[in-house]
């Protein structure tokens, strides 16, 4: 369950959101759209505690994010898988190590890590490139690695920021299939996108953000 209640967020004296409210139930899949600079990435940052709202309250699962102590934030994040818009892959680590990074704080044996990572790389059809470095991958391939990393720790929530921006239609469909599977298994999924094709006809909630609020909310 993700709840944003009357959120106001100000950057450099300029508000990005003004009393924005939004609710996604546990196990749901939802989409966020809106023009460039509307605050979609900022919204996700508020949810995973990388930014703090200037006003309002945020609840994610059992966590009161707005009241959360700095020390507890890692615990919140361990329950969330994030597909970053700017990828955040480490250029000096292999694809495998980049994905395994999401398991660092999980108490898994090296063997278990190996198996888990290999499985998710197989899902995104990049197992053959597991020893490559990100810079030797195409844009679309890199984006798939980011998605793999977001999924590998089997989080309760997945936040995906423009996850198919560098992909052709076919690859985008594969990825959306993966999100659907994960969602079917009970994971809450929230996807930011400009690509109407991703949500059209799915029936899932779509939040259109503009002018500092959720301007429109409709079924895709």
């Amino acid at each position: 369950m993700i709840v944003l209640d009357e959120i106001t967020k100000i950057y450099d004296k300029e508000p990005v959101f003004k009393n924005l409210s939004l609710r996604v139930d546990r196990g749901d899949m939802a989409f966020i759209t809106g023009p460039s600079g509307a605050g979609k990435t900022t919204l996700l940052k508020l949810i995973y505690g990388a930014e703090r709202p200037d006003k309002g309250e945020i609840i994610v699962g059992e966590w009161h994010v707005t009241k959360l102590k700095q020390k507890k934030i890692p615990l919140l994040r361990q329950e969330i898988g994030i597909v970053f818009q700017d990828f955040r892959l480490l250029p000096n680590k292999t694809v495998f190590d980049n994905v395994a990074l999401a398991l660092t704080a999980h108490k898994l044996s090296p063997a278990a890590i190996r198996e888990t990572v290999n499985n998710v790389l197989r899902d995104i059809i990049l197992l053959h490139r597991k020893n490559s470095y990100p810079l030797n991958l195409s844009g679309g391939e890199q984006q798939r690695v980011v998605i793999a990393r977001a999924m590998v720790a089997k989080p309760k929530i997945i936040l995906a920021d423009e996850p198919t921006g560098n992909m052709d239609r076919e690859n985008a469909n594969t990825i959306m299939g993966l999100f659907k599977d994960i969602n079917a298994k009970g994971t809450t999924v929230m996807i930011v996108t400009h690509n109407e094709e991703l949500y059209q006809g799915t029936g899932h909630r779509v939040f259109h953000i503009n002018n500092k609020i959720v301007e429109r909310e409709f079924a895709g």
Partner: protein, 294 residues
């Protein structure tokens, strides 16, 4: 992954990847710690060195010309039985004259102008080295001066005082330098770990976003700081050992004095120095990674 396992792996990897700057840091620390070591040895040995320099420090007791043989013997007995005096030798008026003549060499003829010998007889006393504090010597001189038959007591007061001052200044200075270098060592590691920290900033930033806890992020740096400090200390132990060996064996054959300067040299220093290096270094790392915020 297990945090210790993970931290060790990460630290060792970073040590290897950044081997040059690590090498530079270890070198800097070892130089710093070597200087500390050398100064520590200096402080510990300064007293023995001063004793060595003043080994032959003498007090000269001039006697009245009218002194009787009996009085002379009594004085000699007194000096011989005094525990503070390690050597006593007597110079008669004639011997004194001979000495002067010899010193004058070819000019000794001027001595012929005197029809009587103008020189007094004297006792030369050598004091025990550990008593050569200016005030102790002064007290001693005053006591002796009051003895019957003694005309005057002379000793290198100024020289002794200056030496004493000098050794005290040296000790204070060496201690100050040691303290400064200790702080500098912490600072050196602080710098290096901070550099590593900044260099891995992207990685740390990403790890934080992926939910990695503080300890996972910090421990590798602390281990790295420890290793750097430890090896810096070890290297300086080696340097001090080499230097000490050179001085006591190599150089001492040419300057035997060195041997007696370096009387005190506890073996513990070879363990203390790496340990101190590691400690300082971990402290530096702690300060460097102190403020990881989410």
């Amino acid at each position: 992954m297990n945090i210790v396992r993970y931290s060790l792996k990460t630290a060792l990897k970073s040590i290897w990847q950044e081997k040059w700057i690590n090498f530079l840091t270890i070198l800097s620390i070892s130089i710093a710690m070597s200087v500390i070591g050398i100064f520590a040895i200096l402080i510990m040995n300064i007293d023995s060195a001063v004793q060595h320099w003043t080994r032959n420090f003498g007090v000269v007791v001039y006697l009245y010309d009218e002194i009787t043989e009996e009085e002379k013997l009594k004085l000699k007995e007194r000096f011989d039985s005094d525990e503070d005096i390690s050597e006593v030798s007597f110079t008669s008026r004639e011997d004194a004259l001979q000495d002067v003549r010899r010193a004058l060499g070819g000019n000794a003829v001027i001595m012929d102008d005197f029809n009587v010998n103008p020189l007094p007889s004297s006792f030369s006393l050598t004091l025990r080295g550990d008593l050569l504090k200016p005030d102790i010597v002064m007290e001693k001189a005053q006591i002796i001066n009051a003895f019957k038959g003694v005309e005057d007591v002379q000793y290198g007061e100024k020289w002794l005082m200056a030496l004493h001052e000098f050794s005290r200044a040296l000790k204070t200075g060496a201690l100050a330098v040691c303290a400064a270098i200790f702080i500098a060592t912490t600072f050196i590691t602080y710098n290096t770990i901070k550099i590593f920290f900044y260099r891995r900033k992207d990685e740390i930033e990403t790890m934080k976003l992926l939910g990695t806890t503080r300890s996972y992020i910090r421990l590798p740096f602390l281990i790295e700081g420890f290793v750097i400090g430890f090896f810096g200390g070890l290297l300086s132990s080696g340097t001090i050992f080499a230097l000490h060996s050179f001085l006591t064996s190599g150089a001492a054959s040419f300057m035997p004095a060195i041997d007696s300067y370096l009387s005190v040299m506890p073996v513990a220093i070879y363990i203390l120095i790496p340990a101190a290096g590691a400690l300082m270094s971990v402290m530096g790392s702690l300060i460097a990674v102190g403020k990881i915020r989410y």
